[in-house]
């Protein structure tokens, strides 16, 4: 079997046993990238030479019998919103096109300490705002199962590269479903940890009370391995929780006994595609056959999740993105042209006798801010800044932001009540399989509604996992989502692993991956 089809856990075993070298393995993934990434476009940057040098160094240390980290020699791809010291970190935005962070994100430092081979930075929706990766300022990523379709988003590059055998594992971030949704649409396993489980230090902020970094991989076992490296308390992020990190990889294969699985009745209503519903119900039947009890539950405020999210996330974004001012870092407009334009505008107004209007023109500093940001941000980012600024502006704060925070509490209460009756909640990740590129780009609201089943977990701060549970007749992956009470990642991983040991949906590959 081709190396790129092996699980990370298996590859690690072969590396440890000396059956393969990290250089050989890294070359195999780089080869797959070279052959197929021109079509998939999962990567914004591939660090070929650096990855090979790093792999060679790890191989050398292994030969010399020196101590090695947890992921020694395994390639990992990184979503391009995690700061990598001295290396471009663009967030798929023009405004950060030339930005080179002066420090590493904590998860990058952890991956380096674990001796992972960082193979490249993956494409995403600009500033993680979107569900299709079409909002990248640089390129559109295709779904490896059908190149005319979207891979999901915003971690579309991280999901697509794992689906296409270009990396065994990747790191993404999830603010409203941005790990789970692309994992579901690309047929890989992706986990959004509980808020606070993984340090956000060095993650370019979108909505700070919702953002969470997490792993994507081929199997639950591999996901457990990567989460174990990423998770843990970090004094540099005061919202990272000081709780011990369980040995996820040691327990992942233990099946859950007497599992109580909740099915949310509101998730099976209007809008859910028939093939998706059938696959999800079959997956639930698999759990039943493994001894789980299925309970019908209700999350009555779930239908307000998208509306709540599209107030809170833009509000936090408008505040977070105020830092892009063309002063400290990032794009700045051409000042000479700008000064000339202001002068021309002023003289036109003066000549027309419009002295008040001439006086009201933006001063050069404000004009510099506005123009730099207008040139640097894409349409979706502008839309969210505008929405957030509007919702937080005088007279609207109570009606929008404060109201949304109250509904957020109701959404969380629904979960607390549900988890009094069940151990996990199961359901679809998305209402449909991957849609066509371009299909929703002109309809922002339709694009927002793609997040229907995933946003509530972010609002409540709980963890969730997505993994393949079937395929449509057209050959597109269908995902199952499990959600758990706070800090029950171990339960999510064990439940996903139980399913993967009983089924083989996660072992299917698109045709571009050699047998």
């Amino acid at each position: 079997m081709s190396l790129v089809r092996l699980s990370a856990t298996e590859l690690l075993a072969q590396l440890t046993a000396g059956q393969i070298t990290s250089v050989h393995l890294t070359e195999a993934y780089l080869g797959q990238i070279k052959r197929h990434d021109p079509q998939v476009k999962a990567f914004l940057r591939v660090d070929t030479q650096r990855a090979l040098d790093r792999a060679a160094e790890i191989d050398k240390r292994r030969r010399e019998g020196r101590p090695l980290g947890r992921l020694a020699g395994l390639p990992v791809a990184i979503k391009d919103l995690l700061c990598t010291q001295g290396e471009p970190t663009t967030c798929a935005s023009r405004i950060l096109e030339n930005f080179k962070p002066p420090y590493d994100a904590t998860v990058i430092a952890r991956l380096k300490a674990a001796d992972a081979v960082l193979i490249g930075k993956t494409n995403m929706d600009e500033f993680a705002m979107g569900g299709s990766t079409e909002n990248s300022a640089f390129q559109k990523t295709a779904n490896p199962w059908d190149l005319e379709r979207i891979p999901g988003g915003s971690s579309g590059g991280s999901a697509a590269c794992v689906a296409a055998g270009m990396a065994p594992m990747s790191v993404g971030s999830d603010t409203g479903g941005s790990i789970r949704q692309p994992a579901g649409l690309c047929g890989v396993t992706g986990l959004k940890p509980t808020y606070g489980r993984v340090s956000r230090y060095g993650l370019v902020a979108f909505a700070s009370s919702l953002d969470q970094i997490g792993p994507l991989a081929r199997t639950a076992e591999d996901t457990a391995l990567l989460l174990e490296v990423l998770a843990g308390h970090d004094p540099l992020d005061s919202t990272s929780v000081d709780l011990p990190v369980p040995k996820y990889s040691a327990t992942v294969k233990q099946p859950l006994k007497n599992l109580r699985l909740g099915l949310v009745r509101e998730h099976f209503g209007e809008g859910l595609d028939g093939e998706v519903e059938a696959a999800v119900r079959q997956a639930v039947a698999v759990y039943e056959s493994l001894g789980a009890t299925i309970k019908d539950i209700s999350l009555p405020h779930g239908k307000y999740g998208v509306a709540t999210y599209y107030i809170i996330a833009p509000c936090e974004a408008s505040s977070n993105l105020a830092r892009y001012d063309g002063v400290h870092y990032g794009h700045r407009t051409d000042e000479k042209k700008m000064a000339a334009a202001i002068a021309a505008q002023r003289s036109t107004l003066e000549a027309a006798g419009k002295h008040v209007e001439a006086e009201a023109l933006d001063n050069p500093l404000v004009r510099m801010y506005r123009q730099s940001r207008a040139e640097g941000f894409g349409p979706e980012v502008k839309r969210r800044i505008m929405l957030g600024t509007y919702a937080l502006s005088a007279g609207y704060y109570d009606a929008y932001y404060l109201k949304a925070l109250k509904v957020r509490r109701l959404i969380r209460r629904d979960y607390d009540q549900a988890f009094g009756q069940v151990d996990l909640i199961a359901g679809p990740v998305t209402a449909t399989t991957a849609f066509k590129l371009g299909e929703k780009v002109d309809d922002p609201l339709a694009m927002y509604l793609v997040d229907l089943y995933t946003v509530s977990a972010n609002l409540a701060g709980i963890g969730g996992i997505a993994f393949p549970c079937g395929f449509s007749e057209g050959g597109l992956p269908i995902g199952l989502q499990l959600q758990a009470p706070p800090f029950e990642e171990e339960r999510l991983l064990r439940a996903a692993c139980m399913f993967q040991r009983a089924t083989d949906w996660h072992q299917r590959w698109p045709s571009m991956v050699p047998a």
Partner: protein, 96 residues
Amino acid sequence: MSLTREEVEKVSLLGRLQLTSAELDLMTAQMGQIVAYVESLAELNTADVEPMAHALDVSNVFASDELRPSLERAAALANAPHHDREFYLVPAVLGE
């Protein structure tokens, strides 16, 4: 409630974004549609609900009061579009 073009223009100043006339038209229509959608929250009675700004019930996380090295000035300025090795430079705000 629908938004007017004037309101959207005012918000674009508050949000420090320069929008073209065409962008203002499109933004007015799209924001109106999205705001109408999120207004569905108004149908919920939340009079006695405590707002939830954050998923974690942690507060007052203290750092120990000790000196640690911080970013060197050169590194802090390295990404600035315009600086004089000491300060960030911006267009003149007062007078010419």
